[in-house]
């Protein structure tokens, strides 16, 4: 694709490629609605230029699941009523899917008691690790439950 040097990864996805699942909230890295996976890592697509990601694999909510073949996290968000307006949801789910991988890899967080040890899978850990994703409807308790459900199913 060809695009202006100024085009953010977010705008390239939405405007150039028509993948509107990724949402533009604040456009300044504060809300997390634009979260996508770049080579498997969660990032804010609004805070980076499309041209800086030439050759990388970008996965958006469209790549995680679709009607008829929802991902486990998508099903859990529906089951636990993890949204109201739904605008933050694609970012929440992209963020959560990578975040679970970070816990699996043993990455600590600022609420992990022993930074050199393995983190526990608790609501407090999930809440801290998801702090880059805001939900103005404040569905946080259900979002955390949905994520914990999927994490526990993965772990068992």
């Amino acid at each position: 694709m060809e695009t202006d040097t100024r085009t953010t990864l977010l705008d390239a996805l939405r405007n150039d490629l028509g993948l509107t699942g990724t949402k533009k909230g604040c456009d300044h890295g504060q809300c997390g609605a634009c979260t996508v996976l770049a080579d498997g890592r969660r990032i804010n697509s609004c805070l980076t230029l499309a041209c800086m990601h030439d050759g990388e694999e970008i996965v958006t909510i469209e790549g995680l699941g679709a009607p008829g073949r929802l991902s486990a996290l998508q099903r859990a968000f529906i089951h636990h009523d993890g949204f109201q307006c739904g605008y933050c949801t694609p970012g929440q789910i992209c963020s959560a899917s990578a975040m679970l991988g970070e816990i699996e890899a043993g990455w600590p967080s600022s609420v992990t008691a022993d930074v050199a040890g393995r983190p526990d899978l608790t609501a407090q850990e999930v809440s801290e690790r998801m702090s880059g994703n805001l939900c103005r409807c404040s569905a946080y308790p259900n979002i955390i439950e949905a994520i914990l459900d999927v994490a526990k199913a993965k772990g068992s």
Binding site: T5, R6, T8, D27, H28, G29, G32, T35, R41, R42, I43, N44, C46, L47, T48, L49, C51, M52, S95, A98, M99, E102, A105, G106, W107, P108, S109, S110, T112, V115, A116, S127, E128, R129, M130, S131, G132, N133
Partner: protein
Amino acid sequence: MNPFVYARASSLAEAARLGLDKGTFVAGGTNLLDLMKLEVVAPERLIDISRLDFGGIEERPDGGLRIGAMVRNSDLAADGLVRERYPVLAKALLAGASGQIRNMASTGGNLLQRTRCYYFYDTAMPCNKRAPGSGCQAIGGINRSHAIFGGSEHCIATHPSDMAVALRALDAAVEIERDDGARRVVELESFYRLPKDTPHIETVLEPGELITAVLLPPPAALRQAYRKVRDRASYAFALVSVAGIVRLEGGLIESAAFAFGGVAPQPWRDETFEHILMGNKPGPDLFARATDTLVMQAAPTKDNAFKVLLLQRTTQAVLSELTGV
């Protein structure tokens, strides 16, 4: 956003050369892109250094670490050696930003991020950092988040990094490469410049110079802590933060290294404070005496006087945590 030319550097030498020619380096981009969208900065030429090989996290012969400039904040915080020997650094990194931003932000870029002073961000306002000579609205304006140490009559903005506070307590140094390939190492202590009458010049970096790594000496002690006080529990900049490293010997504090964030234009350190602690038995009286000295030179403004007491109490809490007293 203003138009700019984008170039991806294929080598360090090319990056430095392009940097000399009105180039602005972009690594993680998390702060720079934000500033460009708001037109607080408007680079003519953006030099992408994110794919250059600056090296990873490597042990040095002296037992210290070399951290390549492009090591992402999340990878640095998750590194086994860092978590074991430099927990204060892992904790400081994890106290900053969000999971997404830590995945993007680089070690070099974290050191060079700009202040979050609201007047710096608001292009309708004068700001000596953004537009030299235009004045400072924070002095006499809304200055709750601003510095109580190290400010000048031209600027009282704080440095926002958590990582740099831990690095200052760890006696880190910055490895810098020039366009001719020559390298120099600058102690973090001398890397930042106080605002004085040139608040727009924040570091000793010369045009075309590039941070290639951060160097850590072997840890002085393993009793390390980082405590950050902020307006919400996560994803907010520090009002006050404290990085502390203490070694106890025979019930006495043998060595103490403390750096403070959210209170100055650069990670703040106070030798007099550390000397009061050293050689003495830890306890509330000693902690009170030391933290009284720590704030003696504080120059709070209209809205941030609370930081003086907050800094004392946070420091006392860290001292207590580190010494078990």
